[in-house]
């Protein structure tokens, strides 16, 4: 079985994000980057499927991103992925979802695929669109925000749970399909020391847009960011105090009713 997992390099969840001086994006200096947290569940699920199916099953990591993403791809290979494709091209900086999907579709068609795992969204632009547009471009179904995944014995379909408001939607899909992964789907493994050693020898195939047969950035020019806005400054916190805790609580209730009128 040919398993593809998508990996994106994003700023760490604990990173402070500030707008740059020109107001055209964020300040990238000093930012720590990590594998998009949801992509870790995708890698883990890909590895689990390979282990279940066995034979000559293979997990290929596909990443679109700058040169620096290589070290994160190595981490995925150290977790156990077999090889990787890394699309690096300056024209792809700040690519929108349609551009990303078109490029990924090209790579994935070249690689061949039986199932594709990815994170439910990347925690930078938070669009959560690429996987679904990609599914449309590849003419396959997708199941988003999966919290459970079970491959059928014949490998032709899967049953899943997907997280929705106030519950879980039990889903069934034919394969090939794209599955976007939610926290809770599994516990991503850590890279072992032998894994890290092995990863150094695994192949990362670098490709540019030209290598993929694109003369220019595909499918771009749909949206325009008008401006970047910082968070509104938060006001002063009113600390409610009293000799007796009970009186402080009483005062808090009064403020919530009379001042802010939320109760």
């Amino acid at each position: 079985m040919k398993i593809i997992t998508l990996l994106k390099r994003v700023p760490d969840t604990e990173a402070r994000i500030l707008i740059n001086q020109e107001g055209t994006g964020i300040r990238e200096d000093g930012l720590k980057y990590v594998i998009n947290p949801y992509d870790e569940y995708a890698i883990e699920e890909g590895l689990k499927v390979r282990e279940k199916v066995g034979g000559d099953s293979k997990v290929t990591v596909v990443t679109m991103g700058p040169e620096e993403a290589t070290e994160l791809i190595r981490t995925a290979l150290a977790m156990g992925a077999d090889d990787a494709v890394h699309i690096v091209d300056p024209l792809l900086e700040n690519a929108g979802p349609f551009t990303s999907a078109a490029v990924l579709a090209k790579v994935i068609e070249e690689e061949g695929f039986d199932i594709i795992f990815c994170g439910k969204q990347a925690i930078d632009d938070d669009m959560a669109q690429v996987q679904t547009i990609l599914a449309e471009m590849l003419d396959i179904p997708q199941v988003n925000v999966a919290t459970e995944f079970e491959l059928s014995d014949d490998g032709k379909k899967a049953v899943l749970s997907r997280r929705i408001e106030g519950g879980d939607e039990k889903y069934e899909t034919a394969l090939p399909a794209i599955i976007s992964c939610e926290k809770g789907l599994n516990e991503p493994r850590y890279a072992s020391l032998p894994g890290i050693m092995k990863a150094k020898k695994k192949e990362i195939r670098k490709k540019t847009l030209a290598d993929l047969g694109f003369e220019t950035k595909p499918q771009g020019g749909r949206a325009e960011i008008v401006r970047w806005l910082p968070l509104p400054k938060s006001g002063e916190c009113k600390i409610v105090e009293a000799e007796e805790l009970q009186d402080a609580v009483k005062e808090l209730v009064r403020l919530l009713r009379e001042e802010s009128k939320v109760l």
Partner: protein
């Protein structure tokens, strides 16, 4: 042409409350740019929802309801929605940034060769263009975004950000949308919905949320938060620290790798206020922090704070509210 299509999402045969919020947003755009507003309901209950929304200022309300559309499927619903966008020539399509909206509309955007803005918190007109505001980097900054050309533009708006519309106008024309979707062409489909235990409102839709952090110390202690939440008709949330410690399921996690919430009142109990937690709840209208540590960062974002042990403060708060509610 600035015609607008409002997608009214159905759950259990009823229109979700986001539908009325989307109508308000549509009115704003149509008010400035002109154009007619049409509605669309797909799935079980679509016909009766179309009837229910007759008096909300729509020109036409389309509905599609048959066996193949009874359960949600991206493919089946995308076909109907794309057909209506094409036949009405809608320039703007407004949808909820819900589990369904987030799954369905990127595919619709691809089918109509459009563009989509996910998870928007506001939509207004500036210089003759509709501009959507949306958080990026999990709400640590915002962008305002617009489409570059005249292609169909889908704006998915989060619940609880825009006031709901009131009934107005003459009755809409109700149009049955024939769907040629057949069940055997659908490759992925929802079989059933299993509700979360507790019967509380969903975090993303709740007006009031009571959340617990690492200081909860144990899963069983969430009982005191549940009592307070139930008294207020609210939802229970948890910080990542509490979820990772096994005190609460991930479905309750609020923050960057959990739910992004926007209630009227958010009560943070024993939550220190890590940046990734703040990213998920900072837009709450009123934030109350209860924490033993007066230096906890949560107090910098809160409107009201009590410095004290949550195990004393929360039960007192519940008792106090019982007296008056």
């Amino acid at each position: 042409m600035t015609d607008i299509l409002v997608f009214g999402e159905l759950r259990g045969g009823k229109a979700k409350k986001i539908t009325k919020e989307l109508i308000t947003a549509a009115d704003r755009i149509a008010g400035e740019l002109g154009g007619e507003i049409n509605g669309l309901f797909v799935g079980e209950g679509a016909a009766s929802a179309a009837e229910e929304f007759k008096g909300y200022g729509f020109k036409r309300i389309f509905y599609a309801e048959d066996d193949a559309l009874k359960n949600y499927s991206t493919e089946g619903y995308a076909k109907v929605v794309s057909d209506v966008i094409k036949s009405t020539g809608a320039r703007y399509v407004l949808a909820g940034a819900t589990a369904m909206g987030r799954d369905l509309f990127p595919r619709v955007a691809a089918r109509v060769d459009g563009v989509m803005f996910s998870d928007c918190v506001d939509l207004r007109v500036e210089d003759g263009r509709a501009i959507a505001k949306r958080p990026v980097y999990s709400g640590k900054v915002f962008i305002e975004i617009t489409s570059k050309d005249e292609r169909p533009t889908i704006v998915a708006i989060r619940p609880n950000n825009i006031p709901p519309a009131e009934p107005k106008g003459d009755g809409a024309e109700i149009v049955k949308q024939d769907s040629d979707v057949t069940i055997d062409t659908i490759r992925a489909i929802a079989k059933e919905i299993v509700p979360l235990a507790g019967g509380r409102p969903d975090l993303t839709e709740a007006d009031i949320i009571v959340s617990g952090g690492r200081a909860m110390k144990d899963a069983s202690n969430f009982k005191i938060l549940e009592e307070l939440a139930d008294l207020l008709g609210g939802a229970v949330g948890a910080s990542r620290a509490a979820v990772d410690s096994g005190y609460a399921p991930h479905a309750l996690q609020v923050g960057q790798t959990g739910k992004i919430v926007n209630p009227k009142l958010y009560i943070a109990c024993g939550i220190s206020g890590a940046i990734q937690h703040l990213a998920g709840m900072r837009t709450s209208k009123v934030i109350v922090a209860i924490n033993k540590d007066p230096n906890a960062p949560i107090f910098e974002k809160a409107h009201y704070g009590i410095v004290g042990d949550l195990f004393e403060v929360v039960p007192l708060l519940t008792e106090e509210l019982k007296k008056i509610l």
